[in-house]
Symmetry: C2
Subunit: 132 residues, 2 copies
DNA sequence: CGGAATCCAGGGTGATACTG
DNA sequence: CAGTATCACCCTGGATTCCG
């Protein structure tokens, strides 16, 4: 990459984890981050702590199962924290951990990119399909 | 083309894409970008044009089918371009399009994040599992 | 309200074999 | 070398039901 200096490339080469290697834990982590719900949950929590039901409403179309499953995995990975308020009925809030906050901007940027460049992608698809 | 409803015309005029809405095209685009191979292909092409076999070697563990399928979709979406050199045997090079170059740094950052924060994630997992 | 558990259909995925 | 084709399987992910 042109934006990387030779020194940076050397440093990268020495890095312990390499996502290009299938057996590397970071590759599996990248696979997990490449879950379609993770980016949406992270982006949704950018506004601050939110209740389970708030997340379900913001992220339209997510099933209870997938939302819960995604939040559990993200909690286990240290990206979000779960706070239970033992009222009746129960209230559960999720918020980003410090680690989660370091990842959120990156995923948010991808989500933004998808929204901003949607037209160009659709134009490219139309052009591609026309050449068949 | 069929007559657009008032709501459709408003959306058309404002070009508002919201990835939180399940039916929004940008959501489907985000789902596609959330493919585990897309981020690796984009990152691999950050070094410049590469041959099919180079990509297959760099991205360890990808099957021919998935690599080809991923490249086809990315080509259709205008993220990569495909150049065939009709030698014998055939040589095929892939490179990022200008549109692909705008997305690459974002996905590359996510891949980097996974490598850099791997240890913290593993520590979080260990802590989570210990509390069961 | 915020889950857990179960069932189950569908398709995404990989292995394999073949081709220009 | 760079695919295409076929098949079988697993696992995702939705629907439903029940619980604290």
């Amino acid at each position: 990459m042109a934006t990387l200096s030779a020194a940076q490339r050397r440093q990268e080469a020495k890095r312990e984890y390499d996502a290009y290697v299938a057996s590397c834990p970071s590759r599996k982590l990248l696979d997990r981050l490449s879950d379609k719900w993770v980016s949406l949950v992270l982006s949704a929590l950018a506004d601050g702590p939110q209740r389970y039901s708030d997340l379900a409403r913001t992220i339209a179309g997510v099933s209870q199962k997938m939302l819960t499953q995604t939040l559990r995995t993200m909690e286990r990975d240290g990206l979000v924290s779960r706070r239970v308020t033992p009222t009746v009925p129960v209230r559960v809030d999720y918020e980003l951990t410090p680690l989660g906050w370091t990842l959120m901007p990156l995923m948010y940027a991808v989500k933004e990119w998808a929204e901003v460049h949607m037209e160009e992608v659709e134009a490219a698809r139309a052009a591609y399909d026309a050449d068949l």
